[in-house]
Structures are given as structure tokens and as C-alpha cells.
Amino acid sequence: MATVKNWQIGREMEYPYPESRPQRQFAAVFDLNKCIGCQTCTMACKTTWTVGKGQEYMQWNNVESKPYGGYPMGWDVRILDKLGPQPWEGGKYAGETIFEAAPTDERVLGYLKEELDWSHSNAGEDEPAGSLDTGGYETMPTHKLWFFYFPRICMHCTYPACLAACPREAIYKRPEDGIVLVDQGRCRGYRECVRACPYGKVLFNPVLRISQKCIGCYPAVEQGIQPRCVTSCIGKVRLMGFLSTPDDVKPDRPIDFLVHVKKVALPLYPQLGLEGNIYYIPPVNVPKEFLRQMFGPGVDQAIETYLKGKDDPELLGLLHLFGDTKEIIESFKTFRESGEAAGYDKKEREVVRVPIKEPDYLRPFFDAARQVYRHNIS
């Protein structure tokens, strides 16, 4: 075991291999306030990557409903239950990660997902938590009766549990972009990675008898293009980019700005210790207790910042760049005079420019040119 720095838990931790960060780290921010559960991302991923034999059940990208949904079923509550109650002390995690809590005979605290766990990807869909009494009413912004859609892909972790667990060393993290891949020629189908990944994002192909996972659409990323699940999202929920470490923040880098500067996008189950690289803007309608368990101690501040976003031109501008270009945005700017936001690629070429507020058009009730009345629709 080596000692490595995991900034998401504010401390050093034990990991089977020494710290070895990639030159750039693939990362993305998903705004959970905007996801409508349409599964367009799921279909984009499915039709691109998992239409082969043995992949019938696979969703490298999935959208589940929280609190009750899960693919594989119960992935979150199962690992939380195994880990047991664990404390945070302010921004520092005082509990054990799944590497530190591993029994002596294992490298990672995990469990083998059962076949049935993969068989109900839409179980719990649209099921809200809580109940309203007769004559009750909803509250804002936190709802008494709540659920939210939860889109998920591989976290391309800084400290992948799958990689740590593989006795065959068939899993690797690419130095050029931090994407985590299973070597399909070397994998022997032991499924140690399937046991170890707490997010349930490594899957076994029973026909090819090897394990497979989200590949971060690396052929696209290599060409400066965002992954399929990101570019296909009709709700413009997602933004993929690269993330720096907290000691090397570039404020004009979109993911750095959201994660490190504004701290509006949070890691998922940081207490597990993987330093995953998919970040979430928490849904404002959900009770904070639930969100703090999922996204750590930064929840309250993140929601406060997000709700004030309309008065923050930079944040508002960047949120408008979500889903507006297929190019990877390396840096962004907002222009107060024109009320626009723009994104730039690796060569600093402008690849997208959008108005932060769309102009209003007032049109008369009666259109004289067409001799028709307009209805009150947009």
C-alpha cells in the first residue's frame, strides 16, 4: 500500500499503487437540476458502444431515479452499508475509504453484483421519497415529496478501485487523459474489477468472457470532441472537459471553475476514496441530509451558489455553454457588454458563443401581413 493525496476527502489515504496523475484528467460536470430522465444519453452510448454480443444488458451510461433506482440495483446503499457509518470532520473525511476498510484478504472492500442486480435498470424510476399529508402542500426549494434523475457513467477515477483490484494488471489509466480502460486482450474475466467498483461501472461480458466498461469515448476525446452522452443530451445537462488539481487551478477552464473556483459541482460519494472525476451540481429540491451523504460536505454551499447563479454572470455564462458545442471547451469567457459567453478549444479558437439571456420579442396580437391572430404561445 502506498500513501496518496486525495483532495476530495481532504487528506492522504492508502492505495495499492503510488500516486501517478495523468497529464490531463478527463472530467465532466452533470447538472442534476436539468436532467429529465429521457435516456437520450443512454441510447447514444448504447448504439455507439454496446450493441455487440454479451452486451445486451450493458448500460455504460445509465440514468436512474434517486432515491430508489439503481443500476446495478442498490449499488449505492450496498457499499454504504458495507462501509458502515463514517464521519466527516468539516471538509476532511475522518472515516475509512473502501481501500482502507478492505479485509486483509482483499485489496478493496466490495461485493460481487448478482445477475439480477443488472436486470432492472429502471426499477424505482420516478418513485418519489416521502409522502404528503392530506391537505399538505409542497415547499420550495426543498420538496417534501422528492426524487431526481441521476445520470451516471464511469467516473474515470484518479484512484480506480477496478484498477487496484485487478490481479492481472489488465486495467490501466491513460497518462494522456486519465481515461480508465480494461485491456480487452489481457483481461481474464476474473471480475475482481466488477466486485471492486463501488459505482457498478465495470460489467462482465458473458459471451466474450471478459469485463468491459465506459471508455470515455476516447476516440472522440482524442480529436477534441466531447463524448456521445454529453453531446447528445437534449437537456444540456453535461459538460466534459479537463480538470486540474486544487493546487493548479486554471479559473478559465470550465471544469476547474465549477469544481474548484465556484465549488458548485461536487464529487460523488467522495468518502469511498476513488477521487472520481464526474462531478454533480446537486438538485436543489432534495433534502440536504440525503445530498450530503452522496456529495459530501460541500452540498450547502454548492446549492447556495447555484441558486444565486442568476446574479453571477460568469457562472451563468458557463452554465449556458453546457451542451452547446460538440468540441471540448478548454477555456471560456463571458462578455458583460454583449451578454454572451464563449468557449475556446485547445488552439484557443472560438468554438461556441451563446447569449446568456435570449432577447425578448414582442409581436402584435394581430398579424396584418398574414391576416391572422397570434395565440399566446412561444
Partner: protein
């Protein structure tokens, strides 16, 4: 540790006589030649060196016999297993057995070491299933499943994987295209020849000369793994008629989800190959 020390004592007391036979050596557990000759009981100990460990192996001992005919060497490995496990769903594992021989004069028991290579011959029940029945495609794994469309697959439902010959479809057959023997639908034999220089280095040998066949009956497996003594491969062990080589064994009970490092292992057993012509 107790079990490990028992195993060491076991190895010191026992050696495996590799009988010379003046006949073909078929990779067949039903061969009449197996009915005679000495056998050795090999104790399997927990694997507690490389994580994940297997603290309590399900298979405690193997009964081993071996013969050679000057050209080929064959091992019969028999053990009790109440359940036949030969199909790999996402959460099931297959039975397996393996034997290891140093490529050079000696090698560490931990699957060899740097520049101390070991040759490992590994029989797998799922490969045996592929050969005895047919390749375990979706139609075999899930007979009631129906998918009406694989976008790039040629042919008709159930879109037998062996017909996926066009490049667009083959992109989805990653392991097969990359030469991973697990993913090959047409298996020649149920044994895989592998080399290793320590834990985590296990690699399929480029040249595949070993053959294997297992039969499950009466609550147990009888598996034969055979290989030419000399193939010209640089990974040939230093074995031959009249020579003495160390051999080690490992076994996996798929029903207990044993796979990879989760295995019962023996210590080195001394295998003495009788000279050609010896009775």
C-alpha cells in the same frame, strides 16, 4: 499457515512417478492406461500471498497420475466437486485446474519470478463446455432471450457470433479480435498454455501446444492435461525421459466463486520421469 506447513511436509514426503508407456498418450480421462500406475495425493493450501487471498479453498486435495511416452507427457488430475460449474454468467464462475513447471531449472512457487519463468497449463470447464456442446453464445446462455437487432450483425436471429465476420460487427467482439483466447468461439482444446514471471504477469503463451479434456461424473472431475515434452518453444520446461522436475498444482471451485488468485495451491511436487523403456 498451518495448512501451508502441512503442504510442505506433504511435498517432502511425496513424489510423482511419471510412468513410461509404450503407446499413444491420449488427452482422455477415460483412457484405459489411467487404470494402473501409482498416484499421489496433492494437498491444496490457501493462497495467502497475493490479494485477493483464498483463505479456505473448497478443493482440499487432488489425486494426480502422470505418464509419458518419450514424446508426450500427460497428467490426470481428479478431485471431488459436488457441483459442476461450467457456464459463466455475470455472477457465476467455472471449475478449473492447472499445473505449473519451471521453464528453467527452478522457479519460485509464486508463479515464477523475474527471469525465472514458469510454464502453466490451465484447464477450464467453460472451454470444455464450448467443445462438448457448442460455444456459449447468447442463445445457449439465455435460451429464452430474444433480440431482434444487432445493428452490424449479418444473418438472422439469433445472430451466431461466428457469423460476425464484417469489420463493423467485429468491432464489438473486442476480446476475439485482439486474440484473447477466452473470447474465441471455436476452441481447439480446453487447456490454455500460459507463461508467468511472478504474480500479475500471467500471459497466454504465443505457441499453444497443450491439450486438455475434463469429464465430470460421480460428483467429481477427471481432467487430463497433456503436452509434447519438446516443442522447440523457448518456454519448454527442462523435462524429458529420466529427468526430475518440480510440478505444482492449483484448483478452482467455480461453485464457490473461486477464480484467478482465489485458488487452492500446492507446493512443488517432485515429478520423476521414468526413462524410455522402463517398466
Amino acid at each position: 499457515m498451518l495448512a501451508l506447513s502441512v503442504s510442505v511436509a506433504d511435498a517432502q514426503q511425496k513424489s510423482l512417478t511419471v510412468r513410461y508407456v509404450n503407446s499413444a498418450v491420449p488427452a482422455d480421462p477415460g483412457w484405459s492406461g489411467w487404470e494402473t500406475g501409482p498416484s499421489v495425493e496433492v494437498t491444496l493450501a490457501p493462497q495467502t500471498v497475493a490479494q485477493p487471498y483464498l483463505l479456505s479453498p473448497s478443493i482440499k486435495r487432488l489425486t494426480v497420475k502422470a505418464v509419458h511416452n518419450g514424446g508426450w507427457i500427460a497428467f490426470l488430475l481428479a478431485w471431488k466437486d459436488a457441483t459442476k460449474s461450467s457456464v459463466m454468467y455475470t455472477d457465476t464462475f467455472r471449475d478449473a485446474v492447472a499445473l505449473m513447471v519451471p521453464v528453467g531449472k527452478s522457479a519460485p512457487i509464486r508463479m515464477g519470478g523475474p527471469n525465472e519463468r514458469a510454464l502453466i497449463l490451465h484447464w477450464k470447464a467453460d472451454w470444455q463446455e464450448d467443445i462438448d456442446k457448442t460455444f456459449q453464445d447468447v442463445a445457449q446462455l439465455y435460451p429464452n432471450a430474444w433480440l431482434d437487432w444487432y445493428p452490424f450483425a449479418p444473418g438472422e436471429p439469433p445472430y451466431d457470433i461466428r457469423h460476425w465476420t464484417n469489420p463493423e460487427a467485429r468491432r464489438y467482439l473486442t476480446g476475439w479480435v485482439l486474440g484473447n483466447p477466452r473470447s474465441q468461439p471455436d476452441k481447439r482444446t480446453a487447456a490454455e498454455e500460459q507463461i508467468a514471471e511472478g504474480f500479475s504477469t500471467l500471459t497466454t503463451n504465443e505457441r499453444q501446444s497443450a491439450v486438455g479434456k475434463g469429464v465430470y461424473a460421480n460428483g467429481g472431475w477427471r481432467v487430463v492435461i497433456a503436452r509434447p515434452l519438446v516443442t522447440g518453444d523457448p518456454n519448454d520446461p527442462a523435462w524429458g525421459p529420466g529427468k526430475v522436475v518440480p510440478v505444482a498444482f492449483a484448483a478452482w471451485d467455480g461453485g464457490e466463486k473461486e477464480i484467478g488468485a482465489r485458488k487452492g495451491i500446492s507446493d512443488w511436487i517432485t515429478a520423476k520421469l521414468n526413462p524410455v523403456g522402463a517398466k
